[in-house]
Amino acid sequence: MTLGGAAGDFDREQPTDIEALLPWYAAGTLRRRDRQRVEAALRQNPELARHIELVREELAETIHLNETLGAPSPAVADRLIAAIDGEASARKRAPGVAAGWLTGFFASLSPRTMAVAASFAMLAIALQAVMIVDIFTKPAGTLPSAEQGTEHKNGTFAMVRFAREASAGEITKFLQNYQAALVDGPTPNGLYRVRVAMTALAKEELARIVARMRQDRIVETAEPAAK
C-alpha cells in the first residue's frame, strides 16, 4: 500500500521543499522558521503527517543501529596518548624543528626588518637562544616527560661565535644546514653553545663538523665543546 491519493506526490523524483525537510524536523535540527512551515504543512496534509511517522521510525532505528555498534577498545586511547607523548619527545629532540620554527618566525618579518644592522642581528641571536632554551625546557603539557631536564646534557656540542655582519636569516639557515640548535649563550665573549647532534659523536667527527663550520663566512670562531 502506498500513501494513496497524494501518494503519487511522494513518488516524485524530486521532493517538495517540505518533504525534504522532514528528516531534520524529526531530528529537531530545523530553525524556527522552517520548523513552523513543516508544522503548518503537517496540520494541513494528512498524508504528510503519515510520512513523518515513517521518518520517525527510520530515525529511531538509525539510533538503535548506531548504539549497538559498541565502542572502540581502550587501546585506542592508549595508543593516542603514546603517540602524543612520542611527538612531544620528538619535537624536543629534533633540532631541525627548532630551526624550522625560527625560519618561519624570521620569514614572517618584512625585508626591511631583515635588513637591520649586525648589532640588531646579534640581539636577535640572543633572542633566539632564549626562545630555544625556552622551547626545550618548557614542560610539554600536563603530563611529565621522561626527557625533561636532560636536553642540554645529551648530544654533541660546539661553541660558535658568529660574525658581526651575520644576519638572523643567515644564522637560521646555518643552523638548518647543520641540523643544529642554539641551546645556550651568548657567553660574555659572544660564544653560543650549538648542539650539532643528539647523540655523542666521536671526537674526530665533531672536529670535522667544527672545521667545516669555520669555513662558513658567518662564523668567526668555532670550537668543539665539552659536554
Binding site: 525534504a20 531534520w24 530553525r31 593516542l80
Partner: protein, 215 residues
C-alpha cells in the same frame, strides 16, 4: 564516487551565525562552548583537555567511521589518527563550526581516503558496499526478524553515501548546513540525497517484506 577532495580543516570555517540553529539547543549546542574551550587548551598543549575531548566524542566518531568502513580495526586506527590531528592542529580551529562537526569532517576525510586506497589496491570494494549476510540462508534469516530488525538490516545495506547522510542527520543530529560542510556538497544536494537515501531504504524494506507505504 567518493567525495574527499575537500580539506576537512578548511571547508568548515563558515561563521557560526550562518549555521542552521535550532531554537532549542541540542546536546551538542550545549556542549559546544566547552568543546571550544577544550580545543583552545589543546592548542596550548594541555593533554588533560585532549583526554576530555577524546572521552566525549570518540565513541560517536568511531561509530560514524565504522558505519563507513565496516571494519572495526580500521575504524579504531582512523579515530586515533583523527584525534592525533586534533592534537596537532587544534590551533587551526577557528570556532566557526561545532567541534563535533569538525571532528566528523576529519574522520570522514580519513575514512574515505582509506576506502579509496583499498579500492586502488584492488581490494574488494563490493564487500564494503554489499548488504551484510548473517546466515547461510539470508532470506530465511531476514524473514524471522521483527520489523525493527529488518529496518536496521536495510539501513546497514544502504550504499555508503546513503548510510552516511542518514547517520549524520538522524544519529549525529547535523543540520542541513552542517551536513553540507561535512560532505562538501550544496545544501539542496544534501536534501535531495537524504530524500533518495530514504527512498532507497524504502525499496530495500519492500524487498525485505516490509510494506511501509513509501515510496
Amino acid at each position: 564516487m567518493l567525495n574527499i577532495s575537500q580539506n576537512p580543516h578548511s571547508h568548515l570555517n563558515l561563521h557560526v551565525t550562518e549555521r542552521d540553529q535550532p531554537d532549542e539547543p541540542t546536546v551538542e549546542a550545549m556542549q559546544a562552548p566547552a568543546d571550544e574551550t577544550l580545543i583552545g587548551r589543546i592548542a596550548r598543549g594541555d593533554r588533560l583537555a585532549m583526554q576530555v575531548l577524546f572521552a566525549r566524542h570518540h565513541v560517536r566518531i568511531y561509530r560514524f567511521v565504522l558505519r563507513l568502513l565496516r571494519d572495526e580495526m580500521a575504524a579504531e586506527d582512523v579515530i586515533g589518527d583523527v584525534f592525533l590531528d586534533v592534537w596537532r592542529q587544534a590551533s587551526r580551529f577557528e570556532g566557526r563550526s561545532a567541534v563535533s562537526t569538525w571532528l566528523i569532517a576529519i574522520a570522514r576525510f580519513k575514512a574515505l581516503s582509506l576506502l579509496r586506497k583499498r579500492r586502488d589496491d584492488g581490494l574488494d570494494a563490493e564487500t564494503a558496499e554489499s548488504i551484510e549476510d548473517v546466515a547461510d540462508d539470508p532470506e530465511r534469516a531476514v524473514a524471522k526478524l521483527d520489523k525493527g530488525e529488518k529496518l536496521r538490516r536495510c539501513l546497514a545495506g544502504l550504499s555508503y553515501e546513503h548510510r552516511e547522510i542518514i547517520d549524520l542527520v538522524y544519529y549525529h543530529e547535523k543540520s542541513v548546513e552542517e551536513v553540507a560542510r561535512i560532505v562538501g556538497i550544496p545544501e539542496n544536494t544534501v536534501k535531495t540525497r537524504m530524500f533518495y537515501a530514504r527512498k532507497k531504504l524504502g525499496e530495500l524494506c519492500r524487498m525485505a517484506g516490509i510494506d511501509r507505504g513509501w515510496p
